[in-house]
Amino acid sequence: MTATVQPPLPDDLDRSVPPAPPDGPRAPGRIRTAFEGPGRPWILGAATLAGGAAAFFLMGAIGLFNIPFILRELPQGLGPAETSLGLTMLAFAFGFFLAQPLAIVRAFGPARWSRTVTATSPLGLKGRAANVLVRAAYGVATGYVAIIRGTPALVQILLVYYVFLFTEPTLVLFGESSAFWAGLVALTINTTGYQAEALRGGFQSVDRTQVDAGRSLGMSTVQIFGRVTLPQGLRLVTLPLANEWISTFKTSTLLSYITILELFGWARSSVAYYLGRPLEAFVILTIFYLAINITVSRSITYIEKRRRIPGLGSLAPELPLRPARRAA
């Protein structure tokens, strides 16, 4: 049989049909994702690294910036980088502990508390008094999180800095100045609010049926939290917390404006201004921040994927799982 009807004119744009991948008719839908799947982040990382290095030497070769100068100055940044990292890690660790009670109160606030806890009160509090207490705690926690998340970190840092400046201008603790402690306190206050929100998300998304199962075994509320909700919730928030760490690290750059000599402060004052090399300062900072932040995010993603328990998802925005298409 031959074609008797002339088909409509072809449309070049829409005709292309993608080659079928080996694992199915086509990748999910018509949309495929870049560099997903086991081991792929490393491929992307290597490619990015190679591309970045190539771009670096190319731009150096055409004289955009001075490569020998950068290589000479780079080691000078290690000290300030240590300050940045130290402040970030301390603030993040303190914040993690301070955020726990906030997150618990926010996640299991008045509504759930009154329903599940009045029967078996874990703190020895019963009835109306406990309810009022929990409600008050919920209000305080919610207000704290709202204020921290609703105002710029810069303003928070300046506020804390001036309080320290007026009350303890000559403080020296562990060899660090007042400004350092002001920065640490401000950063901790800031990251506590964000971590509380991340943790609350984790605790709340632990399936309710898990709690019911725990209760059916006769576990107490505290036991259920410690043995079921907390381990599952922490696993769920690994990636959000990693994001929050990176975010805190980036916020720590603002501490340079309250006289702390961290990475950005060093590059700005000594490389860009004093040595008069702004482009080179930017390149040095790029190297530092890309190296640290991409390493952290890739490693955590990798570890999280390796250690993931089947069936226990992650809260991180990532590729949604789709049912594999049946082959027949």
Binding site: A34, F35, T151, P152, V155, L254, L290
Partner: protein, 313 residues
Amino acid sequence: MSRAADSGGTPLTAPVSSAGPGGPGGLPPPRWRSTGAALGRTLYRWFPPARLARICVALAGIDAAAAVALWLGERGFYSLPFAATILPQLFSGFEVSAEAIALVIPLGFGVGFLIGWGRTSRSVLLRGFGAMYVDFFRSMPPIVLIFFASLIGLLGLNYLTSDPYLAHTVGLWFGAVALGLHTAAYQAEIVRAGILSVPAGQTEATDSIGLSRTQSMFLVVLPQAFRVSLPALGNEFSSVIKDTSLLSLIGWLEITGSGYNELFPSLHYGLQGPLILWIEVAIFYFILTFLLTSAVRSLENVSRVPGLEAAQS
């Protein structure tokens, strides 16, 4: 738009909406009634009772806080006159902040949308570029981008023009553009996640009725992706508002910048001077982000579709 088709005389297009009771004997309901019902429905959609109650509580709380603050000021706990004198400065800074936001949010959304879309494309080149863009801009602290964009822009422009004022102004705007490109990386990830959240069956269905790729993207995938990613976008927009405070560090006289201008006079009052100053600045940002969050919530309520609930953060 489908409502208009209802008035066609075909028996098939019987009224389907629940808009008001049909008049007796098939007469249309009085016009004012349907208008009133429509208005009521709209109001109800924008402000459902639970939300209205929350708004009332929040307003009452703000009112009480303001009353307490005023009372403390009158009692001499802090210098009320100083708190009042910096207000006009902050309001003028607020206008400048609005300018910055008006540049950064559309720029970030436009670029972010294109990059996010590119990251879901079949072209390796587009995906690779998108991935590198996102990696770079998400790893760099915004202040570093802002500072060097404005500094290098300013130095570069000094070669091109002899007008230092022009170079300075352009340098300022370069900083805002850098902030826009920074938020674009985050928005690209949101857009990408939204597009990927649309199940494969939807594009299969568009294929089966013969829609083209572009039509399928704009008629089906993006409308669904938009609804799913609205809360995340709202979060990102409020981050942008907070990040505009960084522009003060390169010389913008927005809210934080006008705060800096008042810093020296404030030191006159001892500790309470800068304390009042920065708390007032923080309140400005708090109100701004609160308004934005409320607007996004309302938009979520209005564009809500059963079965397409936005992913909760």
